[in-house]
């Protein structure tokens, strides 16, 4: 009975999502819903025969799929009218609903049934299925012309950023509120080294490493003086760094550097004695535009591969696979790091700095390594971002970007790689896909159905002005942080150690 209830919930949520996107979206939503439901159901069941499990979850799968399809058909026939769009072609409705239904039922039963296998085999199957979904997604997206891949790439960029910040916050336990600064440094390194701004056109495959190295160097330079500070002071100082870096990039548009001794100190002293001097003033830079300020650097060189050619902004598929490769590489490196001597000393520092220092771990050096490693990954992300957008603007990298990355880590699970990946996908799809769709949906619903029925002009204006969820997206990020801290500080997919640490105080007070 409980299973059926969760099936109904999933079906309703999925169906409501199709309200926002319409058309073919029911196929992808159905498959994703099936994966989620199947994993959820499977985790609760005992390990027994896969076929038995499949039969036992089949009713749930059918119910959820049926609800999804009913809602999606309702959407296509009635809701479209309420938001002032033409009803969708009946063939799309028919095939879309059918495929969505099949996807939901198939994935739910399959994933639940996999739980019947031995644990190792189950993991292998799940990985294979995941790989299949990842590979198939952009092509399905292209076939159904939903254009989600371009947005998913942003989510994946934030996944890398989250993975990097996770090293600093999750493993070493240092709160870095200016992480977007390293992202900016990576992006601007790429921008400066492969754009007409300075006439340097380096190859992307080289620049991405330079960007990562540059971010690491800056992480080191910022960390060296500030890491001896205690946790909350460090947070404020990194916040300051995160605030200064975009301001610098915004304003380094007219840089003049003159050597002070020859230019004014010596002439000034000589002038004091009444003598006139005509000394040569050594000028290093004069009125140099380093970063193009608010205009931003654009265009930026794109990666090139044989067979595929130069990556284009019109075709997101090569970009998608590139970033998937970067993520796989990052996850591999981070896992090795985590289990290495260095990774274990990060965690020792996080648990108890004093005890770790007594065991012979140098806290400052270890923290510095965490800072530099974390910065490296945001350098990768920055380089990819710059090349993908082909234009970088300082306002992208301000404090709010750092907070979004922090949200990714907190929501997913501090110190857990899988958690951070899930967190990044959830937060950024909500931000990039869900909210814009919700905004369009609300706006057209208002103009076609709600506003004409309101007679009072003051109320009408107030409703119209406030029904824009995009304006308040940061409210959602703030709420995420506060609610997660209050309800589930260890995140959606917790790291066991962190969870134990976060709850130890509670247990102490209970006893």
């Amino acid at each position: 009975m409980k299973n059926i209830r969760s099936g109904i919930t999933f079906g309703i949520v999925g169906g409501l999502l199709t309200f926002l996107f319409g058309g073919w979206s029911v196929v992808i939503i159905g498959c994703l819903m099936g994966v989620g439901l199947g994993m959820g159901l499977g985790a609760k069941l005992e390990r027994k025969d896969p076929v038995q499990i499949a039969i036992s979850v089949l009713p749930t799968a059918l119910v959820s799929g049926a609800i999804l399809v009913l809602l999606s058909i309702y959407q296509n026939s009635f809701v479209q009218e309420a938001i002032g769009k033409h009803p969708v072609e009946s063939t799309i409705v028919l095939y879309g609903s059918l495929l969505g239904f099949l996807g939901a039922v198939l994935f739910t039963t399959l994933l639940a049934a996999l739980h019947g296998l031995p644990e190792k085999r189950e993991q292998q199957w799940k990985m294979a299925l995941l790989a299949l979904l990842i590979v198939a997604f952009p092509f399905v997206d292209k076939l159904t012309s939903l254009r989600w891949t371009a947005q998913i790439i942003f989510a994946l960029i934030f996944v890398i950023l989250g993975l990097g910040l996770n090293i600093v916050v999750g493993y070493a336990g240092l709160l870095d509120l200016g992480y977007a600064a390293f992202f900016a440094i990576g992006a601007y390194t790429t921008g400066i080294l492969s754009s007409p701004q300075h006439g340097i056109y380096m190859n992307f495959w080289l620049v991405i490493w330079i960007a990562a190295g540059m971010a690491a160097i800056w992480g080191f330079m910022l960390g060296a003086p500030t890491l001896p500070l205690r946790g909350d002071y460090l947070a404020i100082v990194t916040l300051g760094f995160g605030e200064i870096v975009p301001v610098l990039f915004k304003n380094l548009i007219d840089v003049t550097i003159k050597e002070p001794f020859t230019c004014w100190i010596l002439p000034g002293i000589i002038n004091l004695f009444g003598a006139k001097t005509t000394m040569a003033c050594i000028t290093l830079l004069e009125h140099e535009d380093l970063t193009a300020g608010e205009k931003g650097i654009s265009p930026i060189g794109r990666p090139y591969l044989p067979f595929i050619g130069e990556f284009k902004s019109s075709d997101p598929i090569p970009w998608y696979f590139l970033i998937i490769c970067i993520i796989i590489l990052s996850v591999f490196i981070i896992r090795r790091l985590r289990d290495s001597r260095l990774g274990r000393s990060w965690m020792a520092i996080r648990e108890d700095e004093l005890a770790a220092a007594q065991m012979g771990i140098d806290p400052v050096k270890t923290k510095l390594a965490a800072f530099a490693m974390g910065a490296t990954f945001s350098g990768f992300a920055g380089a990819f971002y710059a090349a993908y957008i082909a234009g970088i603007f300082p306002s992208v990298f301000d404090f709010s970007a750092s907070i979004i990355i922090l949200c990714v880590v907190i929501l997913g699970g501090i110190g857990n790689i899988n958690g951070v990946i899930v967190g990044g996908l959830v937060i950024m799809t909500a931000d990039r896909l869900f909210l814009p769709a919700l905004k369009d949906f609300l706006a057209s619903l208002l103009t076609h159905t709600v506003l004409p029925s309101i007679s009072n002009p003051v109320v009408q204006l107030a409703v119209k002005d406030n029904a824009n969820p995009i304006l308040y997206r940061f409210l959602l990020f703030g709420l995420t942080l506060v609610i997660m801290m209050a309800v589930r500080p260890e995140g959606l997919i917790p790291n066991e150690q962190v969870r134990a640490e976060l709850h130890s105080a509670e247990e102490e007070t209970k006893e």
Partner: protein, 371 residues
């Protein structure tokens, strides 16, 4: 016998000289161009005094906000990120009260005075309750959690409050002067004090008749006097009253205070109430003095006043006041002689330097390195 005379530390001297040289070399990028500043001061020395006046007045407002940071930090060792945004809400609350009561359009001095007093009361009460609510919702249950948890919660709260301000600034039906430009633009906070004094037939500039080319307005005097009154009242409250004593006890040792029968929850709530009330008062004062209301103004104010609190020695009330005035001066000179866009960077640089070289601040006896 060997003399204990200290040898001259060449290494340290060289590092200091190198740092100084680098500052002189790349300083001009952020406007720290000494010949240019020298020329500007020489051309108009009175301007220096003018910036001093502006700096002290803004410093008074910063000091009042800094007290909220320093009190909260002193008692629960938490940087209340949302505090600067509570101050921003104070600006909007007072502006809304002034608008709703019709004070903005009125020219009648009596009505303006009553409107302002009402705005002060509402802003103080509202911000006090808001700040205490923030504590109740976001910090209380995390009191025993690891240090990072309440800090992250505080950042989230700051974002939430900023967005409430953003929404508020879009409600043109409530305050018509917000206009139709949406919530993100800077709003005008009408110069009610100027209107009040001109309607009473006074000249706003106290030095107008003296022939000196300076502006020392009644507003400056009023802001500074009000700030000094508030700070003295707070100082007396903390030093002389029973609740103040309980606060000091809780700040020193929470568990011991609890054992002595002090209601810790109430003491902490009271701290947040007082801090929020001060922020509300500072909001009205800043609105009247600087004549702007902006949803993001809490960030800069929060940064400056937090730096002020650290500069004076966090947890130390007198230090917070001193730090406030110093940071106000720094910001004013930076706005005047460098460029307003570098002020935040300069304040942050100051903060880093204090934290690195004197983490206890100027007057701090309570060390920042506790725990």
């Amino acid at each position: 016998m060997e003399t204990t005379r200290k040898k001259f530390n060449w290494r340290r001297f060289l590092i200091a000289a190198l740092v100084l040289y680098i500052v002189l070399l790349i300083g001009p990028i952020v406007g720290l161009d000494i010949p240019v500043i020298y020329a500007a001061v020489k051309a108009n020395p009175l301007q220096l005094v003018q910036f001093l006046i502006i700096g002290i007045s803004n410093g008074a407002i910063i000091a009042i906000i800094a007290l909220g940071y320093t009190m909260v930090y002193g008692i629960i060792e938490l940087i209340n990120f949302a505090h600067g945004d509570v101050y921003m809400i104070g600006v909007f609350t007072s502006l809304t009260v002034l608008s709703v009561t019709g004070t903005l359009e009125s020219k009648d001095p009596v009505r303006i005075v009553f409107g302002l007093i009402l705005a002060l009361i509402v802003a103080v009460v509202f911000c006090a309750i808001l700040n205490a609510t923030i504590e109740r919702l976001a910090y209380r249950r995390l009191r025993n959690a690891p240090r990072l948890a309440p800090l992250i919660s505080a950042i989230g709260m700051s974002f939430i409050i900023e967005n409430i301000g953003l929404m508020w600034a879009a409600q043109a039906w409530l305050v018509p002067s917000f206009g139709t430009t949406g919530g993100a633009s800077q709003k005008v906070f009408p110069d009610m004090l100027g209107i009040l004094f001109t309607s009473m037939g006074w000249n706003v500039n106290l030095l107008a008749s003296s022939g000196i080319a300076l502006r020392l307005t009644i507003k400056d005097v009023l802001v500074i006097v009000l700030a000094v009154i508030l700070m003295t009242a707070l100082y007396l409250f903390v030093q002389r009253t029973r609740l103040g004593k309980a606060m000091r006890a809780t700040a020193q040792n929470r568990d011991a205070a609890k054992m002595l029968g002090i209601d810790i929850d109430w003491v902490i709530t009271a701290t947040f109430l007082i801090g929020g009330g001060l922020a509300g008062a500072a909001g009205l004062m800043a609105g009247l003095y600087n004549n702007t209301a902006w949803w993001f103004m809490g960030f800069r104010a929060g940064l400056q006043s937090f730096t002020a609190a650290v500069l004076g020695g966090i947890g130390n009330i007198a230090g917070g006041m001193l730090g406030g005035f110093l940071i106000g001066l720094l910001a004013s000179f930076s706005d005047g002689y460098l460029n307003a866009r570098w002020t935040n960077a300069l304040v942050f640089a100051t903060l880093v330097l204090i934290l690195l070289f004197r983490p206890t601040g100027l007057l701090g006896e309570q060390t920042g390195q506790k725990a």
